[in-house]
Each structure stands twice: as C-alpha cells, then as structure tokens.
C-alpha cells in the first residue's frame, strides 16, 4: 500500500503512496491518517506531534526527544490496511454558496464555451471529496470536478480575495477561509465559517476525507447566514 517510507529532516517521516492524484490513492492516505491519529489519541504513539495528509502522502512529525523515525517506520510497516475503516471517519456536509458573488464566471463561461447556469449546475451536482486541508487554517482542497470544467489558474493572481470565496482550478474546488491573495477562478461565496476560533473543541469545519455538496442561496439568504 505504502510505496515508500523515508525520513524528512530528523523529526519527520514521509509515507508515499505513489505519484497519482485520485480518490482511491487519497482514500488510502486518509485511512492511514485516521489510524495514526487514533493511535496517538489512545496514547499508543507517544511523541507524535502532527500527521498531515496530502493528495498522495502522509507526513508524520514527531518530538525527537521521545521517538525517532526508525520507530515510526517500524510502526507504519506493521499497519494492516485491510483492517482500516474509512466511512466511519468521514462526515457529510452541505455548504451554502451564493453565485452572485462570482468574480470570474463571465470569463469562465467564455473559456469553456458554456453558459453560466450550466457551470453552476455542474458545480451544484458534484459530490466533492476533501483531499486535504491546509496551507492556512481550514482551507480545503476538494475534488473531483468533471473534465468539462477544467480551468487553469488566473495568469495574474488577485491581490485580495474575500473570505468565503469559492474557487475552481483543474479538477479541484477550494474555499478561501481568510481574505488573502489567490489565483483560483472565483465562482461564488459561502457565508459559512471554515475556521472558527470561538469553537475551540472543533474549530475547523472540514477534515480530510469528508464529503461536501454545495447548495445555492440568494444574496438575501447569504446576508442572513453571514450575520448569524
């Protein structure tokens, strides 16, 4: 299952699952991520500090005072993938989106030679899978869009994109949790907070492996939800 295990620095281990980016490979990454996380919470892997899944890799960071990479690699080699469960750790979410806040639908429509409603419909009918969360707190990378909607990044990234903006690039969809610069094609905005420091027990809405569907809302509904 794991193609290669190696150290990264003296307090990290990389579990490499191969070069491809697809749901099948990523599901394996996320299964292992949940397993490691559970073992750490149970107190079986003292010294592990972080476990970061990405498309095709899981990176484990640890406290070198307590454990080292050879011990972690031994543990990873002993994992029986056939016994790891995926579905019990995956949550389903519906996220409201208002397409009136698009910034690029006009250009996207011209590039793809499709009308705006058609683009929105495909987006609304996609069952998204959260491949990974990161770069900044709460930021999800979700797939897979149908190939009809594949787009490149903007040639010149914007300096400022409002928080909650929903963007697409290639087969991926993301949501910007904070106002930030960015190069994705913005097709709408959600009033939902992706990272909420007021909710300390569970500040981050989406986790790697979760499933997301978008629901279209009006500007009025957006304002109402935004101010709640």
């Amino acid at each position: 299952m794991i193609k290669k295990l190696s150290n990264i620095g003296d307090c990290g281990v990389v579990c490499d699952f191969g070069e491809e980016v697809n749901r099948e490979i990523n599901t394996r990454v996320i299964k292992l991520f949940h397993h490691v996380k559970k073992e750490v919470l149970k107190g079986n892997l003292n010294g592990i500090l972080n476990y970061t899944p990405s498309y095709n890799k899981l990176i484990i960071n640890f406290d070198l005072e307590k454990i080292n990479s050879s011990k972690i690699i031994d543990f990873l080699k002993s994992v029986d993938f056939s016994k790891l469960n995926f579905s019990q750790n995956s949550k389903k979410w519906t996220i409201p989106v208002c397409y009136d806040f698009e910034m690029d639908l006009g250009n996207v429509s011209r590039t793809l030679k499709m009308n705006k409603d058609e683009i929105i419909n495909i987006h609304l009918n996609t069952d998204f899978f959260v491949y990974m969360v990161g770069f900044v707190p709460g930021h999800p990378f979700m797939g897979d869009l149908r190939s009809k909607l594949f787009l490149n990044r903007l040639k010149t990234p914007r300096v400022k994109i409002p928080a909650g903006s929903v963007g697409i690039v290639e087969k991926f969809c993301n949501i910007y949790p904070y106002e930030s610069p960015g190069g994705w094609n913005i097709i709408g905005r959600t009033p939902t907070k992706l990272f909420n420091v007021q909710n300390e027990s569970s500040p981050c809405l989406l986790s790697p492996g979760d499933l997301v569907k978008f629901q279209s809302i009006s500007k009025k509904e957006f304002e109402k939800l935004f101010n709640e």
Binding site: V14, L49, T52, S54, E65, G134
Partner: protein, 319 residues
C-alpha cells in the same frame, strides 16, 4: 483573573506570546508555531521557576517598553538582548540576560534591541494570565489564532500577570556565547531533482540571508540552484526547517510559522540541533550548509538537549 498587569508603552516590532507550539492540528491547516528559539525560551522559563509549558513574550529586533502598573513580578530575559530597568524613582539599571530581576509597582522594563540576533524572550514568575487555544498560548498572527485575539502586542495593551511575586531572591545562569555560520542539514526528499553541480554548490558556497525573512520563512541569496526534473511537485506536508527551491533557484528555509503544505521541491532540511542558530540569524549574515546523516543528527539533538539541561541545572541564586 488577577488584577496585576503591565501596560504597553511601546510595542516593539514583532512582540507576541509564544510557547512550545500547538500540535495535532497541522492536518487542519494550523501550523505548530511556537517560539523561534526554543533554547532561549526554555531557559527564560526555568530562570523564573516555570516549567517549559508556560507562555513567554517573544520579541524581534526592537522589544517592548512595559510599565508594571499593579503588582510585583520577577522577570528573566534571554537571547542576546540590550535592555534596562527604569525604577519608579527614575534610577536605571542596565540589564543582563540570563538572570532574574524583581520589578516593583511603577517600574518599567525597556527592551531596547536584540544584538546580532533576531529574537529575545521575556518570562515571568507564575506566567502571563493569557487564554489557551487548543492547549497552546502561541500566537499565529497571520490566522489570528492564540491569546490577545491572535494579534501582536500593541501600544496601550494591558498584559495580565498571574501572580504577585513574594519571593525576593534572584537567580542566574551562564551560557557560553555561540554563533555558528555553518548550519547542518539532512538531504531533502527531492535532493535528486537538482543538477549535480548545484548539489555540490549547495554544500560548498555561502548564502546570504535576505531582508525577506520573518517567522514563516527565510529567503536566501546565492548561486542559483538548477533544477533538472521539475520546479513543482504535488503539494505535501511541510516540516520545520525544510529548504525549498522555487523556480528562481534561490532557496527558502521554512521556519516556525511555515505554511502546512507546499509544492516546491526540497533540497535539504535543517537538523533540529541547529535550528535555533539559523532562526537567530539576521538579514545580511552569511551561512553555509553542511550535510550530515540521520543518525548523527539524532545524536547531535541529544547533545543539544543535554546542553540545555546543564544550563538549567546551573541556575544559582545571586548573592
């Protein structure tokens, strides 16, 4: 909540609360953060009798000017820092690092500058009265996470102190001055992406620390590193001290507040035992990289920790 507090008369350039960092959240995009120089952080806490789980104030280049409005406290400053204490009768005391001072009501602590280094630390007996977020008091100002609403300290802020110090005894320890310009590294996961001559250059030529350096990363200037495979990789989890090389061939070291995932090839990774030396470098300084193997890096880290324990064991009362 206590009633003892400092008022901030000058904030300094980048003054934040920090501890060892916030863990088990990188998969949600939250970088561990924490003190840039964990050695100075631990020693500051130990001097005032705290465990190394306590939060401290970290400052960069120019530190804050704080006035103790209510209460009495004992402080320690570590790093290589120029500071003074202004008593309420206007008498000034030249500050020495790595020892404690008792501050009385009305006293001011004036942290003027860090010397030939970037970061300094101030700990106080019993700790600051600040709010934890997910088991840590580290401030991640980019994402507004941590105490003080995740923000840097600013003028007129009140900094609350947990206890009123009763103990008048002061303590100090000795630290031999170290400054290393050779930073030891392990080869990175994409070391083979770079041309043979560039690999050689990386371990033999000097790099200058540029002005574009902060808690998140340090940009270096030097001979261009040629990539012969691909200047982009699939985004993957980042580790502190990773040295990535974007398309322009100039390396960037990812520091304590690193982005949690990234997509540039990594030529090397700074070893844990040398990280604090690198973190303390200032723009304009020159460094070079030396390749070591994993086992050696692990051994060096043990020695590094033993060295800190020795410094802490040698904390003695000042007569």
């Amino acid at each position: 909540m206590s009633n003892y507090f400092f008022e901030v008369l000058r904030s300094g350039i980048n003054t934040t609360f920090q501890d060892k960092g916030r863990f088990h959240m990188q998969h949600l995009g939250v970088t561990p953060g924490g003190s840039m120089d964990l050695e100075s952080f631990s020693i500051a806490n130990a001097l005032v009798g705290n465990t190394s789980d306590e939060g401290v104030l970290e400052f960069a280049y120019q530190g804050p000017l704080l006035k103790l409005i209510k209460g009495r406290t004992k402080i320690a400053i570590t790093g290589n820092v120029l500071f003074q204490i202004i008593k309420s009768n206007q008498e000034t005391i030249k500050g020495e690092c790595n020892r404690t001072y008792t501050l009385d009501e009305g006293d001011q602590i004036d942290i003027l500058a860090t010397r030939q280094s970037a970061y300094g630390y101030m700990a106080l007996e019993g700790g600051f009265d600040i709010k934890f977020f997910c088991k840590s008091v580290s401030t991640l100002s980019r994402a507004q996470i941590g105490p003080n609403e995740g923000k840097k300290i600013k003028i007129s802020d009140k900094i609350k102190i947990r206890i009123n110090s009763k103990n008048k005894k002061n303590f100090s320890t000795k630290i031999s001055k170290k400054n290393k310009s050779t930073i030891r590294v392990l080869k990175g996961p994409q070391f083979d992406y770079f041309a043979k001559e560039s690999q050689k250059d990386f371990f033999s030529k000097e790099y200058k620390i540029s002005n574009l350096t902060d808690r998140m990363g340090m940009r270096l200037e030097g001979l261009t590193i040629k990539n012969t495979v691909s200047t982009n990789i699939r985004s993957e989890g980042i580790t502190k001290g990773a040295i990535q090389v974007p398309a322009d061939g100039q390396p960037i070291v990812l520091l304590t507040d690193y982005p949690t995932i990234g997509g540039y090839p990594k030529i090397a990774n700074v070893i844990s035992a040398d990280y604090h030396f690198l973190a303390q470098k200032i723009p304009g300084e020159k460094i070079s990289f030396q390749n070591v193997e994993l086992q050696e890096a692990e051994q060096l880290y043990k020695e590094h920790l033993n060295n800190i324990s020795e410094i802490i064991k040698n904390i003695k009362e000042i007569n």
